[in-house]
Amino acid sequence: MVGITAYGAYLPRMRLQKQVIADANAWFDPGLKGLAKGEKAICNWDEDTITMAVEAYIDCLGNAPGQAPAALLLASTTLPFADRQNSVVVAEALNLDTSDLRTMDITSSQRAATSGLLSALDIAAAGKEAVLVASEHRRAKVASREEMLFGDAAAAIAVGSENVIAELVASQSQAIDFIDHYRGEGQDFDYGWEERWVRDEGYMKIVPDAVNALLSKAGVSAGDIAHFILPTDQGRVPAMVAKKLGINGEAVTDNLLQSVGITGAAHVMLLLAHRLEQAAPGDLVLVAGFGQGCDVLLFKVTEAISTPRLGKGVSGHLSNGRPETNYNKYQSFNNLLEKELGKRSEVNKQGYLSAMYRARGLTNSFLGGKCSACNTVQMPKHKYCVNPDCGAFDTQEDHPMAGAMGQVATWTADTLTFDYNPPAYFGMVTFEGGGRIMMDMSEVDAETFDTGAKVSVHFRLKQIDDQAGFRKYFWKAIQA
C-alpha cells in the first residue's frame, strides 16, 4: 500500500482584512468590493516560500533533526531563488539527514504541487519515504482582482508505504497548453484572460475529462467521492465541476477563499491537508490540480487516519491568526511601494558566500555545540568550551537547537535601527537544556511580551538585498 502518511500546513499569522484593500481602491475600481469578504493570510516581511515550507514540514512531521526521508520536493511558483536549489535550504533548515536525500524544486505551474505529489508517490512505490512541500507567496498588482484573492501559505504531505492514512487508488495526468494566466520570465505579476473563458473552456472541460478518465480507470463512481478538492480562485467553479461530474455537493471542499485566500501552487495541498482533518476511514478523496492540463489523484482513507497528529494543522493555523487592517504595511512587505527605508537601511548586504558556507550549521540549521567533556551546550559552537570550569579544547559536537524552548532573559524594542516592521525586537534567549544567544524576535505581541516570555525559534528572513536579488536567513524567537 502506497499513500499519504502525514500532512501539515502553515499559515502566516497576519490576516489582512480584504475590506481595507477594497476601501483603499474603491475610487479606482468599485467592483473590488464584491470580493471584499473575509481575510487573507499574508507573509510577514521576514517570511517567504522557504520559511513557510520549513514550518509546514514541521507541522507535518515534527521538529526531528536527523529525519531521513528519501526525497524532499518543494513545489512553488514563487521560489526566492531561480538558481540555488530552494529545497536544499529547506532541508538544511529542517536539519534533515542530507547524506542520502533527493531534493527537487518543482515550479512553473499551478499544477506543480500535484505533479510533485505524483513524483513523491512514485518514490514511495519504490519503498521509500518522500515529502512534498508546497509553498506560495504571490505578489499581485495594487487594485487587482488577484490582490483581493491571493493569500500566502504552505502545506506538506508525506508519503510512504507504512502507516498510510490515505492510500493512492489511482491517478491521471493530462498536459494541455491552456493559458488561463501566465507569468513570463522577468515579470513580477501574472497576466490573465477572461474568467468566463477560463471557467467554460478550462475548468469545466479539462477537469471533468481528467476526472472521468481516472474514475473509469479506478472503477469508482463519482457519487462515491466523499471529498472533492479543486483549488481555484473562481468561487463557484468547484461546485459546478462537481455537479457536471455527478459528485455530491457536500463533497466539495471549501476553497478557504475568505479565510486564507487562494495560495497558488500550495493551495491544493492546503485544501487536502484541511480535508484530511475531517476525513473518516473508507472515504474517497479526489484531488485535482489544474494548470496547463490537470493532475487528478484518488485516495482512500484508512483506519490510520484516527492516529493523533503532531501539529496545529490547517484548523489550528486558521484560528491562530491576527487581523491586520494596515494595507500600507501589506504593500510595503510585498514591495509594492517605493518606500523610504532610511539611510540606516543602506548597509553592505553583500553575501559573503564562503563565510556563509562555513556558518551554515548555525545559520541554516541552528546547530550549537555540546561539550563532550562537560555537556555544556553553547551557541555558536566554539573551539573552546564556554563553561569556565571546563574550557576543554575541541570537544564540541553539533547540537541541534531548533526544537528547544527558550526564555527571554533581556530584550528591547528598537526604533532606531532599520527594520521592515519597526520596532525591531531582539534580546538574549536562554534555552531549556542550556545554551543562549542574542537573537532577533518576530511576531511580537507588545501587550504580553516581557522578560521571562517563553519562546520557540523559527527560520525567517534576516536580510533582503533587492539589488543583488539575494536574501539571508536566520532564526528568530517567537513567543510561544
Binding site: R358, T363, Q378, V386, T410, L416, A424, R436, I437, M438
Partner: protein
C-alpha cells in the same frame, strides 16, 4: 602580583576640543585644537614627544587606517605612532599605551590622542556598520541604544524593579548630567532638561528614550604623559599621577553561559576590582572623589554605579534618586556633563574623561570645580552588555 602602574607616570598636560557638530572641521582641525591646549599646558616642545598613540573607533567615517591621521595631522617629528581601536575604550587604550611606554622606560614623554568625526554620516545616532562578515549573519541588527536597553530588561528581571522606578532613575541620571553640562563651555549640549522632558521623550529602544541617550558629536582630546621626575624637572609642582589602568575583555561567558542575568556588566566588575587593587583603594565609596563613567545611555551609568561597587547590588536606583552622584552628592558623576552632553566621538571619549579628572584634580575646572577632589575614576564600556571591553582608570594626586 605585578607592582602596578601606581605613581609611575604623571599627566604633564591635557587638552580637549570643543565637542559638537563640528561641520566645518576636519579631524586634523579637531586634533590641533586639543593638541595646542595640551602642549601649552605641558610646557614642552612638540619635538620632545617621543612616541604617540592615536585612538579612533570607526575608520570608515573618520580618516582611514593606520597612524597617518595623527602623524600627518600634527606633523609629529617622525616618531613611532600607532593607531589603536578597542571599541569605546579606545581613548583609554591610547592613554594606557602611552603610559606603559613611559613606565617601561622606552620613552620619556608620550602623547595619547583620541578623536572621531561622527557627523559625516548623514543621519543621527552612531554610524551603521558591520560587526564582521560572519557575525553579521546572525547578530541582530542592533543599534547602540538597542544593545544597552538589554541591561534595563535584565535589571528589572533580576530585582523586580518596576518600569516606572527604573525610568525615573534613568531620567534623574540624564537631568543631572545636563545640569552639569550647562556649566561646561566645551560640551556639545549645554542646556538643562527637566524630569518631565526626560520621562516623556520619544522612545528610541524600550525603555531608553531620547534623553536617555548620549549625544553624537565630533571631538578630540589628548594627554601628554611623562615620569614624575621629568615633570618635576620641568617645574611642575602639583603632579597628577596615574594610579591604576585596567582593562577587561569578555571571553563570551556572559553571552554563552548561563551564569549572567543581564543586570550588570561582568567586565566592569573585574576591571574595577583590579583597578582598586592597583590603586590601593579598599573602600571605593569612601575613597573615590568623583567619576566619569561611560554613560552612553542613562541605564548604563546607573548599572555602572553597581559595577564599580559605588552602589550595592540592586541599590543604584535608590542611590541615583537620592542624589548620591549629583554634583553636590557624595560621589559626583559626570561633573563635566558626561557622554550625555559631550556626545561620544568614540576615540576621544576616554581621553575627554581623563582631561576632566586632570582639570578637577589640578583645581582648574572653573565654574564646575569640585571642592578638593583627590581621586578620580574614569570608565569606558564598548560593545554589547553581554560581550564587551571595559576599562577603568584611576588618577590622583601624586604620592598620596
Amino acid at each position: 602580583m605585578a607592582s602596578g602602574i601606581k605613581d609611575k607616570v604623571v599627566i604633564l598636560g591635557a587638552g580637549c576640543s570643543k565637542f559638537g557638530e563640528r561641520w566645518d572641521c576636519e579631524p586634523a582641525d579637531l586634533m590641533a585644537e586639543a593638541f595646542e591646549e595640551c602642549i601649552a599646558d605641558a610646557g614642552i616642545e612638540k619635538s620632545q614627544i617621543e612616541a604617540a598613540w592615536q585612538s579612533t573607533g570607526i575608520d570608515a567615517y573618520s580618516v582611514g587606517p593606520g597612524a597617518m591621521p595623527l602623524s600627518m595631522g600634527l606633523r609629529l617629528p617622525y616618531i613611532p605612532v600607532t593607531k589603536i581601536e578597542n571599541y569605546c575604550a579606545s581613548g583609554t587604550e591610547a592613554f594606557r599605551a602611552a603610559t606603559y611606554a613611559v613606565a617601561s622606560g622606552a620613552c620619556d614623554i608620550a602623547l595619547a590622542m583620541g578623536f572621531e568625526k561622527l557627523k559625516d554620516t548623514g543621519y543621527g545616532g552612531l554610524p551603521q556598520r558591520s560587526r564582521g562578515v560572519a557575525n553579521d549573519l546572525y547578530y541582530p541588527n542592533l543599534s547602540a541604544p538597542g544593545m544597552f536597553a538589554q541591561l534595563a530588561a535584565g535589571y528589572r528581571g533580576k530585582y523586580g524593579t518596576s518600569k516606572e522606578d527604573l525610568k525615573r532613575a534613568m531620567a534623574h541620571v540624564s537631568v543631572k548630567s545636563h545640569a552639569n553640562g550647562l556649566k561646561n563651555p566645551k560640551a556639545h549640549l549645554q542646556r538643562a532638561i527637566t524630569m518631565e522632558q526626560a520621562l516623556n521623550a520619544p522612545m528610541i529602544a524600550e525603555p531608553i528614550g531620547l534623553f536617555d541617550c548620549c549625544g553624537v558629536s565630533d571631538g578630540a582630546a589628548c594627554a601628554i604623559v611623562t615620569t614624575p621626575e621629568i615633570a618635576k624637572s620641568l617645574g611642575k609642582d602639583r603632579l597628577i599621577a596615574v594610579k591604576a589602568l585596567q582593562l577587561c575583555a569578555s571571553n563570551g561567558q556572559e553571552g554563552g553561559y548561563d551564569g549572567w542575568d543581564g543586570s550588570y556588566v561582568q567586565t566592569t566588575r573585574i576591571a574595577a576590582k583590579r583597578a582598586y587593587a592597583e590603586a590601593g583603594i579598599t573602600k571605593p565609596r569612601e575613597q573615590v572623589s568623583m567619576t566619569e563613567v561611560h554613560d552612553c545611555f542613562s541605564v548604563t551609568e546607573m548599572v555602572t554605579m553597581e559595577d564599580l561597587f559605588l552602589s550595592e547590588d540592586g541599590g543604584a536606583v535608590t542611590d541615583v534618586l537620592d542624589g548620591v552622584f549629583d554634583a553636590d552628592g557624595k560621589i559626583p558623576c559626570q561633573i563635566d556633563g558626561g557622554l550625555k552632553c559631550f556626545g561620544h566621538p568614540i576615540g576621544a571619549t576616554g581621553l575627554r574623561m581623563l582631561y576632566e579628572m586632570y582639570l578637577q584634580l589640578s583645581g582648574k575646572a572653573g565654574e564646575r570645580q569640585l571642592p578638593n577632589p583627590t581621586v578620580g575614576l574614569t570608565h569606558n564600556l564598548g560593545g554589547f552588555p553581554h560581550q564587551n571591553v571595559s576599562s577603568v582608570a584611576i588618577i590622583g594626586e601624586y604620592g598620596i
